[in-house]
């Protein structure tokens, strides 16, 4: 723009080896992903089918919603540990609403989302207004919500739900199941919001430098509150979809899901210190994990080995990313 320095940029179509190497390093995560896909496709004919792609998408959907919320929270420099048990609580609330009342199908979805929103709002209030560290506030919510989930079910799963409750997770529109559609819409909408709206920019600013954001007139408490509330709301939605899939309300639903969500966000290139990360990165991280799960299942790798491989690959993926970020300087 202003001075001489704009002229010397390499053209994007310049296909020299340094350029290719640069692109490979820059998009290391995509490369890792492609390698994994190539390996599984080679090992199993079933892996590459459209059917299997849909299986992956269906498994990914509930994780996608909480990972999206988690991305915003992590962008502000916080963390939401409570999403797993908020899933359980909202699933139980939905199940209790719909039990013996098939006509309350949509009401149950609403209840689940409201319960999630309420839990998120409490997190947001504690973090933004009372200044409780996010780790502590949401750890408290993790325990509380999990306890409440058992209270709702009086210590047991809520079973014998009306058959139509299953429609939420299993009905199809345009050949896609509803959760998959919700996931796609969620990813696209949030990606747009984070890139193209003032709200998105404010979230990045609060995470990058809260003092500077405040001086620029950003209402930082409001932004902080909103990301936790949104994270809770999405966990609620995720909860009702999971409950619908099994047509019951198990109080331990979603246990440990927060860790997969956080892993997806971090693999996607976000910094736990805030200010750096993106929705598309998270989506990529999420699919990396889900593809891995799926491929290892197809190859009938025992569950405990799956854990080991997954953990190692997550660390490896992030190491490559950190290393390539250093190379870029």
């Amino acid at each position: 723009m202003t001075t001489q320095e704009s002229a010397t940029r390499p053209a994007a179509w310049h296909l020299s080896w340094p350029w290719v190497r640069d692109q490979l390093i820059r998009h290391s995560m995509v490369v890792v992903m492609l390698l994994i896909i190539a390996y599984f496709s080679y090992r199993s004919a079933r892996f590459g089918t459209l059917d299997n792609l849909q299986t992956i998408a269906i498994a990914a959907a509930p994780f996608a919603l909480i990972a999206l919320g988690q991305t915003l929270v992590i962008l502000t420099g916080g963390i939401d540990l409570s999403v797993g048990s908020v899933i359980a609580l909202s699933a139980m609330a939905a199940a209790a609403t719909v039990k013996d009342h098939p006509e309350r199908l949509w009401l149950s979805v609403l209840v689940a989302m409201l319960v999630g929103l309420a839990a998120g709002a409490i997190n947001g209030f504690l973090v933004s207004k009372v200044n409780v560290p996010p780790f502590i506030a949401t750890l408290g919510m993790l325990t509380t919500a999990s306890g409440l989930a058992y209270v709702v079910g009086e210590g047991a799963p809520i079973n014998g739900l009306p058959q139509n409750f299953g429609e939420i997770a299993n009905n199809q529109i345009f050949g896609l199941q509803i959760p998959v559609i919700v996931m796609i819409v969620g990813i696209v909408a949030l990606a747009l919001i984070m890139k193209r709206t003032s709200y998105g920019m404010r979230v990045y600013a609060v995470g990058g430098n809260p003092v500077a954001a405040q001086i620029a007139g950003v209402k930082t408490t409001r932004i902080l509150f909103s990301v936790y509330a949104l994270s809770g709301l999405l966990a609620g939605l995720s909860g009702v979809m999971l409950a619908s899939r099994v047509i019951s309300g198990p109080p331990n639903l979603g246990e440990g899901y927060e860790l997969d969500a956080i892993a997806a966000v971090v693999i996607g290139g976000a910094s736990l210190l805030g200010g750096r990360g993106s929705i598309l990165g998270t989506a990529l991280g999420l699919f990396l994990i889900q593809t891995l799960n799926n491929g290892l299942d197809i190859l009938v790798v025992p569950a405990y080995w799956q854990s080991v491989i997954k953990g190692a690959l997550i660390v490896a993926a992030v190491t490559v990313d950190v290393w390539s970020a250093k190379r870029r300087v």
Partner: protein
């Protein structure tokens, strides 16, 4: 003259295809101070980072005592006795002074446990050599920035550093602390340390340097003993042209009141503040470090709590403690600490430029890309920002250019009241005269400006009127005529230190103690 401690040979470095250093060679001799001058973005910090192994050069070599250093290996540089005091210090704030001094080379008792007593004693010895009173048991966080810096210097030199790279060491400390820094630098020179010292201040180059090297656009354009070069020649080498009219002509102020502050109780200070600024007027705020200038500006803008008082802009009352409302009424704040409070370093120039007036750049929440690119681009152009484009991350701009971003981002809309806190700290002479020009032009266009500054010439030459602050209250007011009188500096100092006009010169010890106390208080926040 032959004992070269550190030599750089033909160093070159480019960031993202843009050359920053284009083959720079330089030798530092033991027991000498070399001043490194150059405009913001000339590559001074990059040069130091290469010499200390933090950044890998694309080409060239760094030799210590004739031995080439491996590229991009800070540990190796450290082992060879090259230490850097970076532009931003990184001490461990919650540890004590002596712990910071001995990190990585702790003293142990025979049983292998930490020998805290010995470390504290040794720390006192090390610090005593510098002639500064620092309690080794104090926590780093409680020290003023200037003292923290001395501890960092003591740490690297007591660790056996033979080459010390100081990157703008005076930009974050008060005038009184600068004197102490000078003394330490001179002492180290006697001990045979080779030093490279970056600064934007001519007085400092004159006071300390044996030799001056000047970087311009990544090339070494001047390398001469200090006695063979005039100030004008240095400036000319830096900016490549003559610098005229350092301080531009002041335009007469208007009559209309732009900002009125009545009985403002700033949280943490006992007495209320009243002040009035008219359109087109530049009001200087002078005072010692810790006099409450920053706090007052922050309270007017609403980022620091005030408990009582009325603020009106152009006759309309502004909600206290609400920066958003202040912005709506046309206030703008350029804070003192541009990295900590001014810019979001992880975001690019365009986003930083849009942040203060987001609602102006959105339609129903959606960003209007074309519109904001145009407006932000024009604002950045008006301050002659040097960047690779609006997409460059602000964190990778040079210090002076970051300051321009922090100022220019307000200029995308109309500003009634501009609050400037140390607007030229760490800014090169060329850019500084540009910022002065911008400030006077903005005032001439009808803006009211309040400018807090520790730079005396800035206050004297740039303001229509000045207030001297002490302990969060206004201690005195100086008109344009007062500011022109020959003994004005003395008057300001006496007001700032709380001395009556009639006391003899022997009371000079008092302000030192007071200043130190105030400085400690300020930095404790």
């Amino acid at each position: 003259m032959e004992d070269v401690a550190l030599e750089c040979r033909d160093l070159a470095k480019a960031f993202g295809g843009v050359p920053v250093l284009k083959g720079v060679s330089l030798a530092l001799r033991a027991g000498s101070v070399t001043a490194l001058a150059g405009e913001n973005g000339a590559g001074k910090s990059t040069m130091m980072k290469i010499a200390s192994g933090q950044v890998k050069p694309d080409r060239g070599q760094v030799l210590v005592g004739g031995v080439p250093l491996p590229h991009g290996d800070p540990q190796a540089a450290h082992r060879h006795g090259v230490a850097i005091i970076p532009q931003e210090l990184a001490p461990i704030m919650d540890m004590k002074v002596y712990e910071n001094l001995f990190i990585g080379r702790e003293l142990r008792t025979r049983a292998g446990l930490l020998d805290r007593r010995a470390m504290a004693r040794k720390a006192r010895e090390i610090l005593d050599v510098f002639g500064v009173e620092i309690d080794p048991q104090a926590t780093m966080r409680r020290l003023p920035v200037g003292l923290r810096q001395l501890v960092e210097i003591a740490k690297s030199t007591s660790g056996g550093a033979k080459v010390l790279l100081l990157d703008e060491p005076s930009s974050a400390i008060s005038e009184r602390e600068v004197e102490r820094l000078y003394a330490v630098v001179r002492k180290l020179r006697e001990q045979g340390v080779a030093m490279l010292y970056t600064t934007h201040k001519m007085e400092e180059i004159r006071a300390l340097a044996d030799r001056v090297v000047v970087l311009r656009d990544g090339g070494l354009v001047e390398d001469r003993p200090i006695d063979d070069i005039t100030d004008d020649e240095i400036v000319h080498a830096m900016i490549g042209r003559e610098l005229q009219d350092f301080f531009p002509e002041l335009h007469p102020r208007g009559e209309e009141v732009a900002l009125e502050v009545r009985g403002l109780h700033v949280s943490g200070y006992p007495s209320p503040v009243d002040l009035t600024v008219r359109r087109g007027e530049i009001l200087g705020l002078a005072g010692l470090v810790g006099a409450g200038r920053t706090e007052l500006l922050e309270a007017i803008f609403g980022v620091r709590r005030s408990t009582e008082g009325v603020i009106t802009v152009a006759g309309k009352q502004v909600k206290r403690n609400s920066p958003a409302d202040a912005i709506t009424h046309g206030m703008a704040l350029v804070p003192e600490d541009r990295k900590g409070a001014g810019a979001v370093l992880s975001m690019n120039v365009l986003d930083n430029g849009s942040l203060p007036r987001l609602s102006q750049f959105t339609l129903g929440g959606w960003l209007r890309q074309r519109n904001r690119t145009k407006k932000v681009g024009a604002a950045m152009e008006s301050v002659k920002l040097r960047s690779r484009g609006l997409g460059q991350q602000v964190g990778t701009l040079s210090g002076g250019n970051q300051q321009k971003v922090v100022l220019a981002r307000w200029l995308t809309g109309s500003v009634n009241v501009l609050l400037l806190d140390e607007p030229t700290r760490g800014v090169d002479v060329g850019a500084r005269s540009e910022i002065y020009r911008i400030i006077t032009e903005l005032a001439a266009s009808g803006m009211a400006v309040i400018m807090a500054s520790s730079d005396m010439p800035e206050i004297l030459s740039l303001s229509h009127r000045a207030l001297v602050m002490r302990g969060g209250a206004v201690a005195g007011e100086l008109t344009r005529d007062d500011l022109r009188s020959p003994d004005v500096q003395d008057t300001i100092f006496r007001l700032a230190a709380g001395l009556s006009r009639h006391k003899g010169p022997d009371s000079n010890a008092q302000p030192t103690a007071l200043a130190t106390k105030l400085a400690t208080k300020e930095d404790g926040r």
